[in-house]
């Protein structure tokens, strides 16, 4: 015969302070874990969600980012007419040559960061179809105009729409704000490619190009053809692969964080075990009575395990409910959390607790509840009824 679920739950309410403290311990471990996981996974999400699988990025062979690559002009002129690249209504190929430079941008508090400034041509918006101008308008070439990513607009001084801001060697007019569904383009500034090349004194105006592959075309054949062309030493790869590679650097960090979370989790297991032992200790006579009444060992074991898991679950709920707004508050207070990715430019990320982070925290909480409850529950279920009654 199983004990009713009410029994372990009402036992929890019986010793409020002790239950409360243990719930608080689990909740704190959950908050610490989710905040940390969220930081790393937000960075990863930002990078992984960037780019489109239909797009190829063309860089110099061996370059791992478009800030350290060059694309000769004649290569651009030839490549854009390769087979397999989509054309728009005007018959223009969807090939966007781009120049990447990372000048200083200044925080309102005076700190400076390297921000990725992308020199583009008007075609860029058609190739990067995830990017939308949400305020103002797209820049007009050679007018010294700039469009800011949403993350950049919040974070740096002088980024008001319609205003002027200084970066690189000159002053630029802010004419628009772009969004891309949270991906890393929102941490960029777009300007005219030739304006940027002149400002950065780059003899070659492009560092790489992005092309959109036609839906029926053989993507791999196009990749091979670009790589095999002996006139230039270039390499094409899917945009998504390029950003996934950058996100890889976040994986070590994720591993480190999970390791620390496990350490904190083991500590919480000890705390929970203590609480549950005390609960068993306080109820020896009660357990003896239950056993004498005919409740089986299994049902006593189950009841105490449920009690322990209930504590952990409460801790999880409280923890997640605190961690979520706390993460947003922190990143809001800092104007987004800046993070230098492998490309030597700052990614402005929003600290958002994701479903996966919560899942990891839930697994941790469940493990705390089960591991912490098992030994005490085992002891409770193996008390000898006669002795237990006498002791009580």
């Amino acid at each position: 015969m199983a004990l009713p679920l009410r029994y372990p739950l009402r036992s929890l309410a019986h010793r409020r302070l002790r239950t409360g403290l243990t719930v608080a311990v689990v909740a704190l471990v959950v908050i610490a874990t989710t905040l940390f996981l969220a930081l790393v996974s937000s960075l990863r999400r930002t990078l992984v969600s960037t780019g489109s699988p239909e797009n190829l990025i063309v860089l110099r062979k061996g370059s791992d980012n478009d800030g350290s690559s060059q694309l000769p002009l004649d290569a651009y002129q030839a490549l854009r007419f390769f087979d397999g690249i989509v054309r728009n209504a005007q018959g223009e190929p969807l090939a966007s040559p781009e120049l990447v430079v990372q000048p200083f941008f200044f925080r309102p508090d005076g700190g400076r960061e390297n921000v990725l400034v992308r020199g583009v041509e008007p075609i860029a918006l058609d190739v990067h179809d995830e990017v939308r101008i949400v305020e103002g308008r797209m820049l007009v070439p050679s007018q010294g105009e700039a469009v800011l990513g949403r993350g950049v607009a919040k974070r740096y001084a002088g980024t008001a729409l319609g205003g002027e801001m200084k970066f690189g060697r000159r002053t630029w007019k802010v004419v628009g704000i772009l969004e891309s569904g949270g991906s890393s383009f929102e941490s960029e500034v777009w300007v005219d490619a030739r304006d940027l090349a002149a400002d950065a004194k780059r003899p070659i105006p492009y560092s790489g190009m992005r092309v959109k592959v036609a839906s029926g075309a053989d993507r791999d054949a196009l990749i091979r053809r670009i790589g095999a062309d002996s006139r230039w030493s270039l390499e094409a790869k899917p945009e998504t692969e390029y950003y996934a590679k950058q996100a890889e650097s976040a994986n070590t960090l994720y591993g480190l964080v999970v390791g620390l979370a496990v350490l904190a989790g083991i500590g919480a297991v000890f705390g929970a075990t203590n609480t549950m032992y005390a609960a068993v200790q306080a109820r020896v006579a009660e357990i003896g009575t239950l056993r004498a009444l005919g409740f089986s060992r299994g049902s006593v074991l189950g009841a105490f395990l449920i009690e322990s898991v209930a504590i952990a679950t409460l801790g999880l709920v409280v923890g997640v409910l605190v961690a979520w707004p706390l993460g947003l508050a922190v990143s809001d207070a800092l104007g987004g959390i800046g993070f230098g990715a492998a490309t030597f430019s700052t990614n402005v990320i929003t600290l958002r607790v994701g479903a996966f982070d919560v899942a990891v925290a839930a697994a941790l909480a469940a493990a705390i509840g089960l591991a912490g409850g098992f030994a005490p529950a085992w002891r409770a279920s193996h008390l000898r009824p006669v002795e237990a009654l006498r002791k009580g």
Binding site: S63, P103, E113, G271, N274
Partner: protein, 387 residues
């Protein structure tokens, strides 16, 4: 002190509980130590730079904007400058698939030892570096990571320049957490010339000033010299430069500080929980002790001492544990490009002592409330309740 055995025996009464609580506190303190190494490593790194007389000169527009190499000679000629050296980013990778795993720069061989005299690179190492065109000075961290030793020949492929160069390691840069790889600018320029590229730019310039008093004046003079030129410069102290360079870690540090605070709070709760259990169990005994004449203050002190002792011992174990764990982390992570000076993971003596004090105060804090209540309870009421 004569009460110490009494406190100790009380701790041993429920060994399992003390062990579990101690274990939880030890793990949490270890975690606090590990987390604190990150911001502390950063502070330590900046402090080291605070007193020196080295200034950084770079293009006002950004570090990726270069300046003419001719600026180096002009900086050297400024009164008060002992010597100056240029750095140019090479972006060398051991394996192109892994990308850049440590920072590599082309530097001027004759000046590097003077400008970076505080690194205390061995004179014979510097001599070897100066006299071997393909020599390289390599940070201890990188040497350890790749198992290289002086005399080894290593090849780096640049991800920025169309170059693949072989270097002979002259010796180490003797700082524990130093990933840098320096080689001769002359070797670099020559290799570029062979590719048909003439290179007359410098990434940045470091200058050593003889007198700390003169630093601001020298910086002003350098910047004034290049005003309205094709590459205007910003000069700043080394500390300010690195503070800015790693400025984007600030958000990460904030999160670490918050998490550390949460874990600390967590220890308080675990310890308080145990203290309250211990006290509750001993209500009868405390009443008897008071009945036979012990003052409540004495009982209060012994109870708090019990919590503090447990917590401090556990804290010591935890801090010791963190030494081992950070050692493992260092071995596993190497130089993390994203974390920069945060990835040193060195538990300094100061951190160790801080952890001990932290656990001591947590013990006191967690013991005070339950102990105060228990020791102040009226004897008559307790005894009536119990018997």
């Amino acid at each position: 002190m004569k009460f110490f055995p009494f406190v100790w025996r009380n701790l041993l009464r429920n060994k399992l509980r003390s062990l579990l609580t101690g274990g939880a506190i030890a793990l949490a303190i270890a975690l606090v130590c590990i987390l604190r190494t990150m911001p502390a490593g950063f502070d330590h790194f900046l402090e080291q730079l605070a007193t020196n007389t080295r200034i950084s000169v770079h293009n006002t527009a950004g570090i990726v904007y270069s300046m003419p190499y001719a600026y180096l000679a002009r900086v050297k000629s400024v009164p008060g400058v002992v010597d100056a050296v240029s750095w140019t980013w090479f972006g060398g990778a051991v394996d192109k698939d892994d990308g850049v795993t440590f920072p590599s720069f082309a530097v001027d061989a004759d000046s590097i030892g003077v400008v970076f005299a505080d690194l205390e690179i061995a004179p014979e190492t510097l001599e070897h570096f100066r006299t071997h065109r393909d020599g390289a000075l390599v940070g201890r961290q990188t040497l350890r990571q790749y198992g290289w030793k002086p005399g080894d020949v290593v090849t780096l492929s640049s991800l920025v320049w169309p170059l693949e160069l072989s270097f002979r390691i002259s010796g180490e840069i003797p700082a524990d957490v130093d990933p840098r790889f320096w080689f001769q600018r002359e070797y670099f320029e020559q290799a570029l010339r062979e590719q048909g590229v003439s290179f007359d730019q410098a990434g940045m310039i470091w200058a050593r000033v003889d007198d700390p008093e003169q630093v601001p004046a020298v910086m002003r003079q350098v910047d004034a010299m290049f005003r309205n030129s094709e590459a205007e410069t910003t000069s700043e102290t080394e500390k300010s430069f690195f503070q800015n360079f790693f400025g984007n870690l600030e958000g990460f540090v904030t999160v670490i500080v918050i998490v550390t605070a949460l874990v600390t709070l967590c220890i308080v709760f675990i310890a308080a929980n145990t203290a309250s259990m211990a006290v509750r169990e001993r209500v009868r005994e405390l009443a008897v002790l008071k009945a036979i004449g012990f003052h409540w203050k004495l009982l209060f002190v012994t109870l708090v001492a019990e919590a503090a002792l447990l917590s401090t011992v556990a804290g010591g174990v935890g801090a010791g544990l963190s030494l081992g764990l950070t050692g493992m982390l260092r071995a596993a992570s190497g130089w993390n490009q994203q974390l920069g000076p945060l990835s040193g993971f060195v538990v300094t003596n100061a951190l160790f002592v801080q952890a001990l004090f932290l656990s001591f105060f947590i013990g006191i804090l967690s013991g005070v409330v339950p102990s105060f209540g228990a020791s102040r309870r009226s004897v008559a009421a307790t005894l009536r309740e119990v018997f």
